[in-house]
Amino acid sequence: MPAPLVEVRSISKTFTRKAKAAGGSVTHKALDAVSFSMTTPERIALIGPSGSGKSTLLRSISGLHTIDRGEGMVTVLGSTVQANGRLSSDVRAIRSRMGMIAQQFNLVGRLTLFTNVALGFLGKISGLRSLMGLWTSQEKQTVMRALNHVGVAAMAGQRANTLSGGQQQRGAIARAIVQGAEIVLADEPVASLDPVTARKVMKLLVDLNERDKVGVIVTLHQVDYAKTYCNRILALKDGKIVYDGPAAGLSDDILKDIYGAEIEDAYWGEPHA
């Protein structure tokens, strides 16, 4: 039996911040013994109100957050990302097989879109070539193909900070393609985009999953987007998974339990596939 693409086993994450008023520090448990796994390339939507732990879960999977010490463990593509509050020494190699797309695009504004996308090779090349940006002609072609695929090849020579949010987000997806990512983690990728652009970005993620068999885990604020573009939904509330099942099974009663009085806001933005 092949190893799961992603396996999250009983992970918790507590944030501690200094607070004068509380006379010391305040702790907040963002994740509380969360477990789930993805065995085949699915499109999983993480939903839940603000502060429910969606982004923390995603960042824990990529090892950008270290989880609390204990029995918790994150495994991706058969390799351990972190366990017992410690990152694996192989985390760089595992990250090179995961694409990360963020709400604020995570592109370097003063670099061209081409260079930003070519940074997807960093996990695979080393030495001076990776530091000087000496991409081979084959790598350059791969970058242009990826940019062409997401529809922004014409902007390849433009600085990232001169592009619109949608163009930057498509650039981030192109970077994941260049990486040859087997898993894509997208943290609220459409939160800063208008509905038309948001739908285009979501369709690209669907395309990555269906065409290239890439597993996609995406945090979304809008329930409609989650139901339309994802086949499995994980709903979080107060750091715990309160629903894990097919998109079709997410009833209004369950949503009311998750969002409470904010249920109307959760439906903001009606996507049309």
Binding site: R95, G109, L122, K124, L131, Q179
Partner: protein, 269 residues
Amino acid sequence: MASGSDERGMLAPPTAPLTTRLANLLVLLVVVSLFVISFRGAGIPGVHLLVTKAANTGSYLKDFLHPDFGDWQLYIQKMWQTIEIAIWATGLSIVVAIPLSFLSSRNIAPAWIVQPVRGLTALMRAFPDIVLGTAFIVAVGLGPLAGVLALTVSNGGTLAKLFSEAVENIETAPVEGVRATGGSKLHEIVWGVVPQVAALWTSFALYRFESNARSATVLGLIGAGGIGQLLFDNLNGFAYSQVSAIALIIVVAVTLIDILSQQIRKRLV
């Protein structure tokens, strides 16, 4: 009455708490006291000498109004040497400042490295250029090299601090973006940090170059080469017409450097 009830319901405009107002008053008192205390120490009572010894100033200015450009080729050559000192001092101080800036940035290096490196850069900035120049004249002898080394040390410290402040104010998202691709710590710095600070760093370096061109002139006074040394020699010989010509060349050169540097900096940031 609608307006009356509105006004009754309105909150009173905010006022600063008494402690804040007292603190502001205290700051004002401290500043005024500092000026009063340092009045004699700074020699301010002697300001009347400007009027009583106006004849000396007049004689000085008379020669000054007739600059002698007889040795203009020498003046230009020495001015160029001063600029060369500034170019090398700026270049070397950038080389010194870049690693020190990363090592003194809290978002890059651990605290046990940051604190000692910050101490070192503070020490580099602590000594006036003249003191460092004198020390390097003892080490390498009279001439421009002493000036280059003195300015490298003091500017290395200053640029390290300015560069490090720029590094500490970067956006973290692009750096995380590089990390998420599987990039190493060095990749994060080269691709995530440097592109964000490069323009500001260049602006700071150009500003320091302007400053170095002026400082290199002053260092010439203690024998560290360049036009400053020529200026000092002519001042000692009471050759005010030559001093006037040299001063004009310095003013023109430094102004041109300032304008050029400002234009480049405007385009960068």
